[in-house]
């Protein structure tokens, strides 16, 4: 319990995540970079693995969201449009510094920015593809990457003409809702990502796109900004947003931001464990996972499954 200005509230701070990501800026020596398959198209997965570990470490419920699947799905989608991307993985890249910048740790952000810019220039990247909404905004606006084109993966797939093959005739019609992430949507003064994910969803022939109550530039936030903390108030926002998807009778709630996926998945997981009174009878997933599952070929897995755990544990009572 913690006394907030609105009264007592439950908080889940994320000090370990902050510490881990901040400490990346301490050591700025460039390690030995081993990149096979050099390409001018670079894919940056962001902090997906860190979210996975964070969910398992400090949450009252572990969540059953699998952020690593965003990595696998993105690679599968990029190869489906004929790109063999170079992976800018976290062994030599740093965090993009979005959280540090918006929490006011500008010096940490600047160190990360200078380091990442140096690496990107060194590898000769021409097109920088990211699957994270916050990374998209940060690399596009807050970095000075002259000569490097920063695109969100949905933009890239759209302009490359990703074609989803027709689904099986037995596949039932599904209603798909899309949550616009704040950072790539209404907080992007240039090239906001509104149209491309919707166009991609429409290419799935058995999917019908439904709009939530607030959408595009009016879209409400998922509740938590930059993993600051989770309390009763932010959970109320998340719940309000997820109730909108219930109102439009959606089968899937898609998002393009790993952090939205974290918070939606957390609440979704809590409500799933009440037998008989399931509040959110739809699936929550990233748009890359949704599209990659509709492609032929190997089904993407996040490969971050704890072998010892057979099923997700019971969540806390109220979270």
């Amino acid at each position: 319990m913690m006394d907030t200005e609105y009264g007592p509230g439950r908080t889940i701070p994320h000090p370990v995540m902050f510490r881990v990501l901040d400490s990346e800026a301490d050591d700025l020596t460039v390690p030995e970079i081993k990149v096979e398959h050099k390409s001018e198209f670079a894919y940056y997965p962001g902090c997906v693995d860190y979210y996975d570990v964070e969910m398992q470490f400090s949450h009252m419920n572990y969540g059953d969201t699998n952020h690593g699947i965003i990595f696998d799905s993105s690679v599968k989608l990029l190869r489906a449009v004929g790109i063999q991307p170079m992976i800018l993985d976290r062994s030599f890249m740093k965090c993009c510094g979005h959280d540090q910048l918006w929490q006011g740790k500008v010096d940490v952000f600047e160190r990360m920015r200078d380091y990442n810019t140096k690496i990107i220039k060194m590898l000769g990247v021409k097109t920088f593809i990211t699957s994270c909404a916050e990374g998209y905004r940060t690399f596009k606006l807050d970095y000075k990457l002259d000569g490097v084109r920063v695109v969100h993966i949905t933009q890239f797939l759209y302009e490359r003409g990703l074609r989803i093959p027709p689904q099986a005739e037995t596949a039932k019609k599904i209603r798909v809702a899309f949550q616009d992430p704040c950072r790539s949507g209404r907080q992007m003064p240039i090239e906001p990502v509104f149209e491309e994910p919707r166009e991609l969803i429409k290419r799935v022939d058995n999917a019908e796109l439904v709009e939530l109550k607030t959408f595009r530039a009016d879209a409400q936030c998922c509740g938590v900004a930059q993993m600051m903390y989770c309390n009763d108030k932010t959970k109320g926002l998340t719940r309000k947003r997820m109730d909108e998807a219930v109102d439009v009778d959606a089968d899937y709630l898609l998002t393009a931001c790993p952090k939205c996926l974290t918070h939606f998945g957390c609440l979704h997981h809590e409500n799933k464990w009440k037998p008989g009174e399931e509040r959110y009878p739809y699936k929550v997933m990233d748009i890359t996972q949704f599209l990659a599952e509709r492609l032929p070929g190997e089904y993407p897995t996040g490969s971050n499954i704890d072998a010892k755990r057979k099923e997700p544990p019971m969540p806390g009572r109220r979270g």
Binding site: M17, V20, G82, D89, P296, E298, M314
Partner: protein, 177 residues
């Protein structure tokens, strides 16, 4: 699997792999596994730092009121430090006896993070200060002085060639209880 025809054909790749994309898939998989391991290793360091912070600075300990505890295992499920165990207590009444499940705190592992007290649905868990700590102005403070830097026993031992003869260097521990 690059079996998908694209509507807007990209320019041909400079060096398409002759084998059908299996080594490439293996490469991406290996990158993925390496990244997972990297995240876990980095997190482990932060976990240790956080644990040390609690042990030094927090100074609180959870206690369970067994009359209230109903054995719902929420605290057991949510403890990140494996500091809670579930035991079956036997209660003998004149008429009958019964068994009830209760939570017990393993004091050595408890770091005072208060998570169990938060999730407890009946508020059976309260936080108390550890020995050597006290609550002052709403904060838990240590009453003892901060730990001294470790002294060097080695020269002292070397200077005294005849140490005080101890009866037994390894006292039997089980007899203490």
């Amino acid at each position: 699997m690059i079996g998908i025809a694209t509507a807007a054909k990209p320019p041909p790749l400079p060096a398409a792999p002759t084998t059908p994309a299996d080594p490439l898939l293996a490469y991406y998989r290996s990158v993925r596994q390496m990244n997972i391991q990297l995240a876990k290793d980095r997190y482990k360091q932060g976990f240790k730092v956080r644990t040390q912070e609690y042990i030094r600075g927090r100074g609180t300990l959870a206690i369970v009121d067994e009359e209230i505890c109903m054995g719902c295992t929420h605290c057991f499920d949510n403890c990140a430090f494996e500091a809670i165990g579930m035991v079956d207590r036997k209660f003998a009444l004149p008429e009958y006896s019964y068994t009830s499940r209760k939570a017990v705190i393993i004091d050595d592992n408890c770091v005072g993070c208060e998570k169990c007290a938060i999730v407890c649905p009946v508020d059976a868990i309260t936080m108390v200060t550890k020995h050597g700590f006290e609550v002052k102005d709403g904060r838990v403070l240590s009453t003892t002085a901060p730990p001294m830097p470790p002294a060097r026993p080695a020269p002292a031992v070397a200077a005294s060639p005849k140490p005080v003869p101890t009866p037994d260097t390894t006292p039997p521990e089980p007899e203490e209880a």
